[in-house]
């Protein structure tokens, strides 16, 4: 039972659910033109494949709510995925691989937060720099080659199912649950709204915006670490370009989902719908055999359409 705060949040966004319209239109479109799109197996596949993006887009929502951005997520994902591959290859332990990935991810997130909150570098520039560092480290660690031969215990995470629900979907739902609780039911979540909405208010309430901001980026890095495990499991290898450009999809999903880049106005459920919309779009274009270059352009167009719908509806 969602409480009043959540209900009023939802009500606020009910006026402009551009993402819902986009999602329905996309499903309708591909249902009509893409053979096999509406099959249960394919729809489940869309959801499974959306898991990693969900795990990036949820913390990205929080970061964007603070009027920030994390461009390093894709590159750090590559790096954490390689960490999982290399460590699990050496130790035969998925858990140690996960541990290493989480440590590396959290470290990058903390550095991002430190650069933004304390050094005062604009998020765009700060995370662009760490993007480069993560990318370089990935190339060094992998020597530009895929890391193969990782243990089954890692690979099975992606293909396993509990009560015939694929594990990735469970992880995606759990991630949403955690972030929903965090944003709408904890003091920390309340302060995330304030970080973007009115930082001065936090200061007058005796809270440290600096520490909160670092925490938001650190949470993002940590999630990227966990997502690294799924990425390695999914590819059954560590690959030096595994996460390439995923920050683009994550930011697009957040934007499509109706989170504003100003004043701390965010909507987590919208982000999840945005992730699914991006997933549906890519899957549908795959089914009608359009190349991935077209997919990237389409995701860009999707952002514009969704924001246009939002803006158009809120004006009229």
């Amino acid at each position: 039972m969602p409480d009043a705060a959540v209900i009023s949040q939802i009500r606020l966004f009910q006026r402009t659910p551009g993402v819902a319209i986009v999602l329905v239109l996309l499903i309708g479109l591909f249902g009509a033109i893409a053979p096999g799109f509406l099959s249960a197996a394919n729809l489940a596949n869309v959801l499974v494949q959306s898991t990693i993006l969900t795990m990036l887009a949820l913390p990205m929502t929080l970061i964007i709510m603070t009027e920030g951005l994390d461009l390093s997520m894709g590159a750090v994902l590559t790096l954490t995925s390689l960490c999982v591959a290399i460590v699990s290859l050496a130790t035969k332990s998925a858990l140690l691989g996960l541990g290493a990935a989480v440590l590396v991810g959290a470290a990058f997130g903390t550095v991002n937060g430190w650069l933004v909150a304390i050094v005062g570098i604009p998020p765009f520039v700060a995370t662009l720099a760490t993007l480069g560092i993560a990318q370089g480290l990935s190339l060094i660690m992998s020597d530009g080659q895929s890391v193969v031969g990782i243990p089954h215990s890692v690979r099975d995470i992606y293909s396993a199912a509990v009560l015939s629900v694929p594990v990735p979907i469970i992880i995606g739902l759990a991630s949403y649950g955690v972030f929903h609780g965090l944003l709408y039911h904890t003091r920390f979540g309340t302060y995330v709204f304030a970080l973007g909405g009115n930082r001065e208010a936090l200061r007058y309430a005796g809270l440290s915006p600096t520490r909160l901001l670092i925490a938001v980026y650190a949470i993002g890095g940590t999630m990227v670490g966990v997502a690294g495990l799924l990425m390695t499991a999914r590819m059954n290898s560590g690959h030096p370009t595994a996460g390439l450009g995923l920050e683009f999809d994550a930011i697009a999903a957040v934007a499509v989902g109706g989170t504003s880049f100003e004043r701390g106005n965010g909507w987590l459920l919208g982000t999840v719908l945005g992730v699914i919309a991006v997933g549906v779009l890519r899957n549908g274009l795959n089914l009608v055999s359009l190349p991935s270059s077209i997919q990237v352009a389409s995701v860009g167009a999707l952002v514009i359409v969704a924001l246009f719908l939002d803006g158009f509806r809120s004006r009229s």
């Binding site: 409480d3 009043a4 705060a5 209900i7 009023s8 949040q9 606020l12 609780g181 039911h185 904890t186 003091r187 920390f188 309340t190 709204f193 304030a194 909405g197 009115n198 001065e200 208010a201 936090l202 200061r203 007058y204 309430a205 005796g206 809270l207 004043r263 701390g264 106005n265 965010g266």
Partner: protein
């Protein structure tokens, strides 16, 4: 406005006393040996022009700034206020002009920001308790609203009430209000005054910063006047006249009746609005403005004054009626209106009127670029000449045209906005609250400037909530009520009583 109670006998030990407070910023002495005492159940008015040191004093009081020298005494005992937490412990709460609210949190979350009741799980919030607590606080200030409403959906006055609720919830014994009525309509201000009376009765001490002389006498039990960082005087309303107060604030004689050269007979018709209705809820508006006239547009906040201005300027779409400017109909877009010579000088000049980070010169010529440089090539020297000419003509107080506009005082920023339109060749100036946030000395200069503009053949339509200003400055005025023109007042009929009577819903 009459909640001032008979002055209680001064209690021996003030609730809070500041002695010899000084604060220096690089190049400015913001406060110089200021002392002042706050007693429980008293409204202490803090008066002064912009830059007199009111804000600095307030920020020191609430711990946001640290005083360089000086001492604080709480109930006679020496205390230190070096942080916001120190001030909060002493029960000092501030209601800032820029609200300290988070737009996309609800009222309850805003009231208890940083003090949320703990839920069962670590880090969580007890939602039921926060709503109940907020309900209780809102009840004490008589604000009937659901505490789970998102603050962004509230109007300015309601947000102000949330600010007050927030302060009250901290068990504030000393409440500092910075121009609380600046954004309120008269009716909303009445509610605020009633609340202040209740707080006084509870023994809360209120420090009230205001530009409005009338409020000082209606509310104040004690007045402290600041000028150039120094305390000029500390007195009681009964011992002083408005003129004396103004003189103390500005340090020179300012005539409260603004200079105005009323034309013997009005000039030719410049603007004619016939049966105008727009999508923003105004209907059947009929207005005329002649050259050489300053015409007032008054009424309560929300009565449609700004909407009329926007419709004339073409910023909102028109449903019915016509607008004839200088003999020809205007329609449609703001850039067409601007090219024809209609200038709209909005209330929020910071967001709509000026590029604050750019220079005075750039701002002055920006609307006239096409006129000054028809070839499309920018000639910095020609721009400089135009800017310098306007700076002299409008007496803008700036070291030179290269000064950043954001660093000028409010009054001088307002002059830059006017100059910008003047350069573009505007004939009709529509002012929306031209004197909001401007101190008294600058007000007189702005009005003198408007007077010169119309004497030279321009015309002005002036929206203002300050009825006294309308009465002093305008040739005549239209009074709006609920989206319609409720009445027209000629020069001889223009009194505050008549404006209020026409503007009130139940008149």
């Amino acid at each position: 406005m009459s909640v001032a109670s008979p002055i209680a006998a001064p209690s021996p030990a003030p609730l809070l006393e500041l002695r010899g407070i000084s604060k220096e910023f690089p190049g400015v002495k913001a406060l110089d040996d200021v002392s002042f005492a706050i007693h429980p159940g008293e409204v202490h008015m803090l008066l002064g022009e912009n830059g007199a040191g009111k804000s600095s004093l307030m920020k020191i009081l609430c711990g946001a700034y640290c005083a360089d020298t000086g001492e604080f005494y709480y109930k006679g005992a020496k205390v230190a206020i070096t942080s916001i937490a120190d001030a909060q412990k002493l029960g000092i709460a501030v209601i800032f002009q820029e609200f300290s609210l988070v737009p996309f949190l609800d009222i309850a979350q805003n009231i208890f920001l940083g003090r949320e009741p703990k839920g069962r799980l670590p880090g969580t919030i007890d939602r039921r308790k926060i709503l109940a607590d907020a309900r209780r606080v809102l009840d004490t200030i008589g604000f009937d609203i659901d505490p789970s409403v998102i603050v962004d959906t509230l109007g300015v006055a309601q947000q102000q009430m949330v600010e007050i609720a927030k302060a009250i919830s901290q068990n504030a014994r000393i409440l500092v209000m910075d121009e609380p009525t600046a954004a309120l309509s008269d009716r909303e201000a009445e509610l605020l005054f009633a609340l202040i009376a209740r707080l006084k009765a509870d023994g809360v001490a209120i420090v009230y910063i205001s530009h409005r002389i009338a409020e000082v006498f209606a509310l104040g039990d004690r007045i402290t006047v600041l000028r150039d960082g120094r305390r000029i005087d500390n007195l009681r309303p009964a011992d002083v006249t408005p003129d004396q107060l103004v003189r103390m604030m500005v340090g020179r004689n300012v005539d409260m009746t603004y200079p105005r050269h009323f034309a013997e007979r009005p000039g030719e018709l410049l603007l004619e609005v016939k049966g105008l209705s727009s999508t923003t809820g105004i209907s059947d508006i009929n207005i005329e403005v002649r050259r050489g006239e300053i015409v007032g547009l008054c009424g309560l906040v929300g009565s449609g004054r700004t909407e009329v201005a926007r419709a004339i300027f073409g910023a909102d779409s028109i449903l019915e009626g016509e607008i004839i400017f200088d003999g020809q109909p205007v329609s449609g877009e703001p850039d067409i209106a601007a090219r024809r010579g209609i200038a709209l000088i909005p209330e929020s000049r910071k967001s709509e009127g000026l590029a604050l980070m750019r220079s005075v010169g750039d701002n002055l010529v920006v609307s006239a670029l096409k006129k000054l440089f028809p070839s499309g090539l920018y000639d910095p020297r020609a721009a400089q000449r135009t800017a310098d000419g306007l700076i002299r003509q409008l007496r803008i107080a700036t070291p030179n045209a290269r000064q950043t506009v954001g660093l000028l005082s409010g009054g001088n920023q307002q002059k830059v906005v006017i100059g910008k339109w003047l350069a573009a060749g505007a004939k009709l100036f529509i002012f929306d609250e031209p004197t909001r946030g401007i101190d008294i000395g600058a007000k007189a200069e702005i009005f003198a400037l408007i007077d010169r503009l119309v004497a030279e053949g321009a015309a002005a339509l002036m929206i203002s909530s300050e009825q006294i200003e309308i009465c002093h400055v305008c040739d005549r005025a239209y009074v709006m009520r609920e989206g319609r023109v409720a009445g027209h007042l000629t020069r001889s009929e223009l009194t505050e009583e008549n404006i209020v009577r026409l503007g009130m819903h139940d008149a």
